[in-house]
Symmetry: C3
Subunit: 436 residues, 3 copies
C-alpha cells in the first residue's frame, strides 16, 4: 500500500492525505484511514465483528461500493461514484435497472441549501438504495426514464476503533473522542481526529500527567457503543470526556456541557473556554451539536462528556456551518491557525483539569501574609488584595480551585498561583476533588 | 319522606333538588341532602356527636331555625326565613322583642356589593343573634323601632360526613373533598359535591385503579377536622387530595397548590391543569380560595391537598365571583357544560397521577431505536426526534414521568407513550415514585 | 494617674475622655484607654507578650513615639507629634537627619481628599519611617532640604485585649467586638467600643439571658488573632458575633453579613435591622467595611460574625465617610442620639436572637382559635387573620421564628406574640434552633 501520510505528519497534512477516502462506518476506506493514523501515534485498534451485540445495538456489515452511476437510457453518464463517493447514499442497497423519472426522484437526494453541492446521505439501517447529486443536476433531469447502476456489497467485516492511551498517575481516565467516518468530508469530523491526535502527541511529552488519557477514533455512534459495551469495567473510572467536532473553522469556540453540567470536568472545561476568548460560548447538553458524546452521557453510562466545536449557533441560518454534510466540506475551509488554536485550547482545558485540587487550610484566621513575603498593598491595590483575601477565605476544603475561581470571579491561574504560594509555605494541603 | 332526587340523577338534577335546603353545618337540612346523595352512590355516613373533642375542636350543637322574621312594630312583616333561609344568620341565637332601629342595625347584615341580594352570614362560635336582608330593604328601614322574631333551637345532634371509598391496588389513598353545607347556595359548594360524586361514579367503572379513592362530603372545616381526628391511622396513607370548589361557572380553572408544592400530586395535577387550557392558572397554597384543604395541609396532618375551582382571581373586583356568599348563588349560574368540563379535568388529573411512574433504564447507551421499530427521522422531524431522545436520556430512575414532562417541556401523554413503547420492549422498568 | 473618666461615664463622656490618646496597637496610649474602660465595667484584661506566636501571626513590639517633628534646615518647626499623634506614621522607625525634599516626600503622607487634614498612616510590619501632614502644608514645602526628627522606640511589651463576659443560661456565646486602637480618632472605632460597652451594661440588667455574651476590645486584627489563638476551646461554642464600627454618625445602619449568610445569627440580625428603618441596608460579607470580623469568619475559625456600622456605601465618593482615617474624625462628628440609636438597635438584634426558637406544633389541623380566645375576624381583618394562619401553618419544627417572619413577611414581634399565645395554651413546644 502506498504511504498516505509521511512520518510525523502535521494536522493539515493528515487532513490532506485522508479526507477524500470513502470512510463509511465499516468499510475499506475507514480502515485505510485508521491504519495510516496508527503510524502517526502508537495506538490499539479494536475490532468488533459484524453481528456482535453491543448493548441494544448490532455491529453492521462491511459495506463496499464498487461502482455507482446514473445514466440516461442511451448511456450518457450523468454522475458517478468514481467522481465523488458522496454520489451514492452510504450503505445503499445494490440496484441496477431503468426507472421512471418519478421513481428515480424518490431515491435521489440533493442538498436543501447548496445548489452546487452533493449532500451526504446515509441509510445505515433503512435498507434502501439511493443516489445523491447537486440540486442543479437534479433540476436538469427531464427525461422520462433513467438507468441506475449501484454495485454495492454487504459482507461480514470488522468495525474498528482506534485507541491511544497515555497512562497517568491515576487510573481515572479522561476520554477524548472524534469520529473518523463520513466520506470525503473534512470538518465533520476529520478535524476533530487530527486535533485529538495532536493533543495526544503533546500529552506524550508531559511527564507527570495526573489522569490517564484515552483518545478514541470511532465510526460515529456505533463505534462508541461498541467500545463502551466491550469495556464496561472502564466506565466507572472514566472521570469525563471531550468530543471534538469541526475544529478547523475560524468561528469562536462553542462548548456543549455534559448531561451533568455540575461535574468537575464541566466546571474546569467551561472555565478554560470562558477565559480563552470573549466570543466563545457555552450551551447546555445538546445545545450545540450532537455526536458520540451522546453515548457517553446516556443512561447506564453517564460519563460526563462535553463537546467542543467551532460552529455557528443552531439558530443561525447557516448553522452549524454552511458546507455541513456536503461535498463542499473540503480542506480549503480549514486553516492551520484554526487547528492550532483548537489544539491549544484543548490543552488548556486539560491543564485546568489537571491542576484542579481541593485546597484545605492548615492555617486558622487570616494568614499573616507579610511574614511569608506574600505582597499586597491593601490601600493602593484594593482589587488584587481583595482577590488574595477572597481566595484565602474559601480555602476550607469545600470548594475546588475552579469553583473558587468562579465564586471569586477570578482567572483560574490567579487562584492557582495564590494557592501554590500558600502551599509552598505549608499553609494549605491539596486534596483530590473526589467528591466534587 | 318525598324523594328529592330521582335514581341516578345528573349533576344538574342533584343541584336542582338539593340547593335550596337549609344546609347549616349540623342541621336537618344538611342531613336530608346527605341522605339523598347516599342513594345516588354507595357511601358510609360517619356521625360525630355534639360535644365530641376533635383535635382542638368540639362538635357544635345541631341548630334549627323554626321561624324568623322582621316586622314593623305594628306587625307588618318585612322579610322571613320562610322566604329564604339566608334571612337568618346561621347559628343565630334565638331572640324575640322590640328593638330600636339602632340596635337592630347592629344585628342586621346586608351584602357589601349586591344591593338586591341577601348575604350569607354565620356565627358558629360567636353566640349572637342576627338577621340578613338586602341592602335596599335595609336602607328603607326608617322607623324608630322594629319587632324581631328568631325562633331557633340548639340541641345535641350528630355532625355527618359522607364517605365514598373506591379501593385500588394500593391502600395509599387520594382524598377528594367538597363541602355540602351553606344554605341555599349552589356554586359554593354544591357544585363541588356533585362533580366529586360524578367523578367517583366514573372511577367505579375503572377496573384497575392504582390508588384507593376517598370522596368526602363534609360541613366545612369542622367536618374535615372531625373526620381526620377519628381516622388518624389513615393519614399516613393519604398520598394527597383535591378539594373541589365552585365547579359550575365558565371561568378558566384555577389550581391552588398544596402546602408542599413539590409533592408528586402537586406535580401531576398542575401538569394536567396546565395542559388543559391556556387560560387555566395555578397559584400557591392559599393563593386562590380557602376551604377544607386547610385542615388536610395543616401542621400535624400535612396531607398535600390541592384545590381546584373556577373563580376569578382574588385581585378581581368581583373575585372569587360576584354572587359569592349571597342569595344570588343560584342554579342559573351553573351550566351543564361547565360541570362536565370540571368532571373531565378532575378525571384527567387523576389519570396523570395514576400513570405517573419512576422509569428506570434497563438499557445502556442510547437505544438502537430502528431495531425495535421505534420510528423517527432525525433530519425531517427534528422536534419529535429530540423529544424521543430527550425523554430517553432522563430514564435513570431519578425522575418520574411528570418530572420528565416538565424538564422536557413535553406533554405528559407523549412522555407516557414513549416510555410505554420502551417498556413494551423490556427496555425500562416502571417503579412507584415512593421517594418523589 | 489622673482619672480620665468619671464613674459610670456616658458614651459621649468616654469618647471625650479617650479619643485623643495615641492608641497605637501595642502602646502606652492604648493601655491607658483600656485601663480607664476597665473601671467602667468589670472586665478581664488579657495580655499577650511581644513575640508570641498566634496562629500565623506574631505579637509585635510595643511602640512609643517620644517626639517627632519636621523642621526647616534653620530650625523652623513645621509640625510636631505633640500637636497631633497622627503626624507620625504609627510604628514608624526612628529617624533623625537632614534629607532632600525629594527623599522627604517619599516618607511624607497626606490625605488624598481632605487638604486640611492629617491622614492616619500605619506601617506595622513594613519597617520604614514616615511622617504625615496636611496636603496644604505638604504643598508649601519648597526648600531643597528639611530636617526630620523621629524619636521612636520598639521594645518588648504586652498586647492587651479587654473582655467583658456576661454568662447566660447556655455556654454558647455571642461575641461583640470593637477595636480600641487608632490614635486620635473617634468613629473608627472608639464609637464601636463605647456602644458595645453600653450594650453590655444593659445586658447586665437582664436577669435571664439565654446566651453568654462576650464583649472584646482589641487592637485591630492582631488583637482578635491573639485572643482566638489563645482561646481555641471557646471557638466551637461561639454561636456568632457582631463587630461594631462607626456607630456615631447619623447615616442609616449598614449590616454586613457573615461569611455564612444563612446562619441563625445572620437571619436574626438582618431581620432586626430590616425592621428598624426603611433606609437601613444589608450587604454580603466584605460588602460594607472590613475589621476584626475577618478573623472570626476566616478558615479554621468560621464563627459567623456580622458587622454593623453607620457608613456610606462603598460606591459613594465619600465612603465610608468623609473624615475616615484622618484628623477630622473627631468628637464633633458624633451625636448622643446616634450613639443611643446604635445601642438600641444592637439590643434589638440581640433580643431577636434571644427570642428565636424552633416552634413545634402539639396541635393537629388548624387551631380552633375562638375556643382559646385568640381573636380574629376573617371577614373584617383579612390581613391579620391571614398572618395568624400563615404563622400557624409553619409551626412544624422545621423553621425558627425568624424564618417564619421572613416566609410570612411579617414582623418578628408579630410572629413571637402569636407563637407565645399558642405556647400559653400548650399548643406548641419551643425548642432551641440547634440545627438551624
Amino acid at each position: 500500500m502506498k504511504e498516505l501520510l509521511k512520518e510525523n505528519a502535521s494536522m493539515k497534512e493528515m487532513i490532506d492525505g485522508l479526507w477524500l477516502l470513502p470512510r463509511d462506518i465499516v468499510s475499506e476506506g475507514y480502515d485505510v484511514a485508521l491504519l495510516a493514523l496508527s503510524e502517526q501515534i502508537p495506538m490499539t485498534i479494536h475490532e468488533y465483528q459484524t453481528g456482535t451485540e453491543c448493548f441494544t445495538w448490532i455491529i453492521p456489515e462491511k459495506w463496499t461500493c464498487h461502482e455507482a452511476y446514473l445514466e440516461t437510457v442511451d448511456g450518457n453518464r450523468l454522475f458517478s461514484y468514481s467522481d465523488n463517493p458522496l454520489h451514492v447514499v452510504s450503505y445503499s442497497l445494490p440496484f441496477e435497472g431503468i426507472v421512471t423519472r418519478e421513481e428515480l426522484l424518490k431515491h435521489l437526494y440533493s442538498h436543501p441549501k447548496l445548489p452546487d453541492a452533493i449532500p451526504f446521505q446515509f441509510k445505515y439501517y433503512d435498507k434502501d438504495w439511493g443516489l445523491c447529486c447537486s440540486q442543479q443536476l437534479k433540476d436538469s433531469l427531464t427525461d422520462d426514464k433513467y438507468k441506475v447502476t449501484i454495485k454495492t456489497t454487504f459482507e461480514a467485516g470488522n468495525l474498528k476503533v482506534g485507541e491511544v492511551v497515555i497512562p497517568g498517575g491515576s487510573d481515572e481516565s479522561i476520554v477524548i473522542c472524534a469520529h473518523l467516518c463520513h466520506p470525503a468530508q473534512v470538518n465533520d469530523d476529520l478535524t476533530g481526529v487530527v486535533v485529538g491526535l495532536e493533543v495526544m502527541r503533546n500529552l506524550l511529552q508531559q511527564p507527570n500527567l495526573r489522569y490517564t488519557y484515552r483518545f478514541l477514533m470511532v465510526p460515529e455512534t456505533i463505534g462508541s457503543v461498541a467500545y463502551l459495551s466491550h469495556n464496561e469495567a472502564l466506565i466507572p473510572k472514566m472521570k469525563g470526556g471531550l468530543f471534538l467536532e469541526s475544529m478547523g473553522r475560524e468561528f469562536p469556540f462553542a462548548l456543549q456541557s455534559s448531561f451533568d453540567a455540575t461535574s468537575e470536568i464541566d466546571l474546569c472545561f467551561s472555565q478554560a473556554v470562558k477565559e480563552s476568548g470573549p466570543d466563545n460560548w457555552t450551551a447546555p447538553f445538546w445545545g450545540v451539536i450532537c455526536n458520540d458524546e451522546r453515548q457517553f452521557n446516556a443512561p447506564g453510562i453517564r460519563v460526563p462528556m462535553l463537546s467542543l466545536s467551532r460552529v455557528l449557533h443552531r439558530s443561525h441560518s447557516d448553522g452549524p456551518y454552511r458546507e455541513y454534510h456536503s461535498s463542499d466540506d473540503i480542506p480549503d475551509l480549514v486553516s492551520h491557525q484554526s487547528l492550532e488554536e483548537s489544539k491549544d485550547l484543548v490543552l488548556k482545558m486539560i491543564d485546568t483539569l489537571e491542576n484542579n485540587w481541593l485546597p484545605v487550610n492548615k492555617f486558622k484566621g487570616e494568614i499573616f501574609c507579610s511574614r511569608y513575603g506574600i505582597q499586597f498593598d491593601f490601600a493602593r491595590d484594593f482589587s488584587n488584595s481583595m482577590s488574595l483575601f477572597n481566595i484565602m477565605f474559601q480555602l476550607d476544603g469545600e470548594k475546588s480551585l475552579v469553583e473558587i475561581a468562579e465564586i471569586c470571579n477570578t482567572p483560574f491561574d490567579t487562584v492557582k498561583k495564590t494557592v501554590d504560594e500558600f502551599h509552598k509555605h505549608n499553609l494549605v494541603e491539596l486534596r483530590p476533588c473526589s467528591n466534587v
